[in-house]
C-alpha cells in the first residue's frame, strides 16, 4: 500500500472505520505543533501542493494553507477567478498543466459533485477533496469527529444530530458516513424541503421538530443555512426558519443533558443558531477551527511518501 489511505482522500463514504480512526489518531500529535513558538516541522519539505479552489472558501483554504506551511510544504493557491479557468480551460487541462510543473498534491474545492474523484483518476498527484458540490467535504467531517472525540472520548453510541440544510450540505454527508462508521448514532433535523428525498437510505433518525432533536442528542452539528441557495422556495423566510428550527438557549435549557454545539461556519447568527448559543459554554465551534489544521496536517502526512516496495524493504531492514 502506498499509505494506509491510498493515493487520495475523496470522501469518508469509501473509508473503513480503521482508516478514519488512523486519521483521527494521527491528528492528535499534530495539535501540539500549532501550540509551539515555532509552528513548523520539516516533514513535507520540498513538496509542492496546489490549492485549486473553484469556489470561494476563505476558511477551508486558509486552514489547508496553514497545515501545508506548518509541515514545510510549498503551497500555491489557484482560484478560478483570474486564472485560465475563467477562459474556459477544462479541469483536467488545468490540473495537467499544474502537474507538468512537477507538483505533488492537489487540494481541490469544486462546485460539482464528483470533481475530486474525476481529477484523482486522471492525474498522478495525490488529490484531497476540500468539498465537491453537494457530495462530500471529508476533512470537515473528520475535524467535526475529532472535536466530538476530544469531548466524549469515544464516539461509540454517542448521539449526534445534524441540523438544518442537509439537502445542500456536503458537510452533512461526510458527517453521516463518518460518524456511523465509528459507531455513533446519527440523526438529522430540518424542514422536509431541506432534507434529501432519500434520507431514509442514510440510516439516520429524522426529527421534524428541533425540540425533539435537542432532547435526543449529545451533540448538535448545526449547518449553515445556505442563504444564497434559499431562492428556490425551500423555506418561507429566515425569521420563520429561526422561529421553528433555530437553536436557542431557551430550547437548549429544556434538554435533559448538556448538549455540545458544533457549527462548520460561517454562522448566520440569529438564523440557524442564536448568538448566546454560539458563544455559550457548550459551544466548541472555535475548537473545530483549531482541530481543522491538525486534521489537514494528518491527512497531508498520511498521503505523502509514496514508494511502496522501498517502504516495505526499508521497514524490514530497520533495526
Amino acid at each position: 500500500m502506498t499509505s494506509a489511505l491510498g493515493k487520495d482522500l475523496l470522501g469518508l463514504e469509501a473509508l473503513s472505520s480503521e482508516q478514519i480512526n488512523l486519521i483521527l489518531d494521527t491528528a492528535e500529535p499534530f495539535k501540539e505543533i500549532s501550540e509551539r513558538a515555532i509552528k513548523k516541522v520539516p516533514t513535507l519539505r520540498g513538496s509542492t501542493i496546489v490549492n485549486l479552489f473553484f469556489e470561494n472558501s476563505t476558511r477551508t483554504r486558509i486552514s489547508f494553507e496553514f497545515a501545508e506551511k506548518r509541515l514545510s510544504a510549498d503551497p500555491v493557491n489557484v482560484s478560478s477567478a483570474g486564472s485560465s479557468v475563467s477562459k474556459g480551460e477544462t479541469l483536467v487541462d488545468t490540473a495537467r498543466n499544474l502537474e507538468a510543473m512537477r507538483i505533488d498534491m492537489v487540494v481541490i474545492r469544486h462546485g460539482s459533485s464528483g470533481a475530486a474523484q474525476f481529477l484523482a483518476e486522471r492525474i498522478e498527484s495525490n488529490v484531497i477533496n476540500a468539498g465537491d458540490g453537494m457530495h462530500e467535504h471529508p476533512t470537515q467531517g473528520l475535524l467535526d469527529m475529532l472535536t466530538l472525540r476530544d469531548h466524549f472520548g469515544d464516539l461509540q453510541g454517542k448521539r449526534v444530530c445534524i441540523c438544518g440544510d442537509v439537502l445542500h450540505s456536503r458537510v452533512a454527508r461526510s458527517n453521516i458516513w463518518g460518524l456511523r462508521k465509528v459507531g455513533a448514532e446519527v440523526a438529522v433535523c430540518g424542514p422536509r424541503s431541506l432534507l434529501p428525498n432519500a434520507i431514509d437510505e442514510f440510516g439516520v433518525t429524522v426529527f421534524d421538530r428541533i425540540e425533539d432533536a435537542i432532547e435526543w442528542a449529545d451533540a448538535l452539528n448545526i449547518l449553515r443555512l445556505q442563504i444564497e441557495r434559499m431562492t428556490g422556495g425551500y423555506i418561507p423566510s429566515l425569521r420563520e426558519y429561526n422561529r421553528v428550527f433555530g437553536v436557542t438557549r431557551e430550547r437548549l435549557s429544556r434538554a435533559p443533558r448538556d448538549v455540545l454545539i458544533l457549527h462548520p461556519g460561517p454562522m448566520n447568527r440569529g438564523v440557524e443558531i442564536d448568538s448566546d448559543v454560539a458563544d455559550g459554554e457548550h459551544s466548541v465551534i472555535l475548537d473545530q477551527v483549531t482541530n481543522g489544521i491538525a486534521i489537514r496536517m494528518a491527512v497531508l502526512y498520511l498521503l505523502a511518501g509514496r514508494n511502496p516496495e522501498l517502504a516495505e524493504s526499508a521497514k524490514a531492514a530497520a533495526r
Binding site: S3, P29, R36, V41, T43, G305, L310, R319
Partner: protein, 182 residues
C-alpha cells in the same frame, strides 16, 4: 530456523547501568541545576523516567522530563513512507540556557539523534545538549557520538538490538537477535 537470541543485559544489569549513567550525567552537567532530560519516543522516555528516579534518590531533586517524537523530522518520509503512529512531543518549558540530555535506548546510524537535534532547535537554544544512550551498537552513518553510554557493543548490520522495559514490554532486558533468525 531456530532463533538465535542472546541476552546482552538482564534486568539487574540494566538497573546498575542506569545508576552509573545517572552519576555520569550529573558529573557532566555539574549537578541538577537547569538540567532537563528529554527521552526519545518511545523507550527513551521510560529510560529518562528511570534516570530521573535514580537522580531523585541521590540528589532529592526531581529533574523535569520531556519527550520528543522525531517522526516528523525523519529524512526518509519519501522513501519509507509515513509511520502510522506519531507519538507525542512534550516540551512544556523554555529550553533557552538549559542543559538538555537526550536519552535514547539504542544509538545506531545516528539519524534519530540528528532529527532530535533539529527538533530541539525548534524549541529553543539550550546552553548544552548531551546524548545518553543505554546501548551504542556502532554502525554510525553520521558524525554523531554519545556523551554517556551504558554499554558499547559492535553489532553486525542486519542484526537487531531490542531494549525491553518492564513499563512497556512486561520485562526488562536487552536482547540481540542475529540476522536470519526468526
Amino acid at each position: 530456523m531456530p532463533s538465535r537470541n542472546s541476552t546482552l543485559l538482564d534486568a539487574r544489569a540494566v538497573e546498575r547501568t542506569l545508576k552509573r549513567m545517572a552519576d555520569e550525567i550529573l558529573e557532566l552537567t555539574g549537578g541538577t541545576d537547569d538540567l532537563v532530560l528529554v527521552g526519545i519516543q518511545r523507550r527513551g522516555v521510560q529510560l529518562a523516567d528511570r534516570l530521573i528516579e535514580v537522580i531523585a534518590a541521590s540528589e532529592t531533586v526531581r529533574v523535569p522530563r520531556g519527550a520528543l517524537d522525531i517522526t516528523l523530522y525523519r529524512d526518509d518520509l519519501q522513501t519509507v513512507g509515513p509511520r502510522p503512529v506519531v507519538g507525542r512531543t512534550d516540551l512544556p518549558w523554555e529550553l533557552d540556557g538549559r542543559k538538555v540530555v537526550i536519552v535514547d535506548d539504542v544509538l545506531y546510524t545516528g539519524r534519530t539523534v540528528r532529527a532530535a537535534l533539529d527538533e530541539l532547535a525548534d524549541f529553543g537554544r539550550p546552553s548544552r545538549i548531551a546524548l545518553a544512550v543505554l546501548i551504542d551498537r556502532g554502525g554510525r552513518e553520521l558524525p554523531i557520538r554519545a556523551d554517556i553510554v551504558g554499554k558499547t557493543v559492535q553489532i553486525a548490520a542486519g542484526d537487531r538490538v531490542d531494549v525491553l522495559l518492564e513499563e512497556v514490554d512486561g520485562k526488562t532486558s536487552v536482547m540481540v537477535t542475529e540476522a536470519g533468525s526468526a
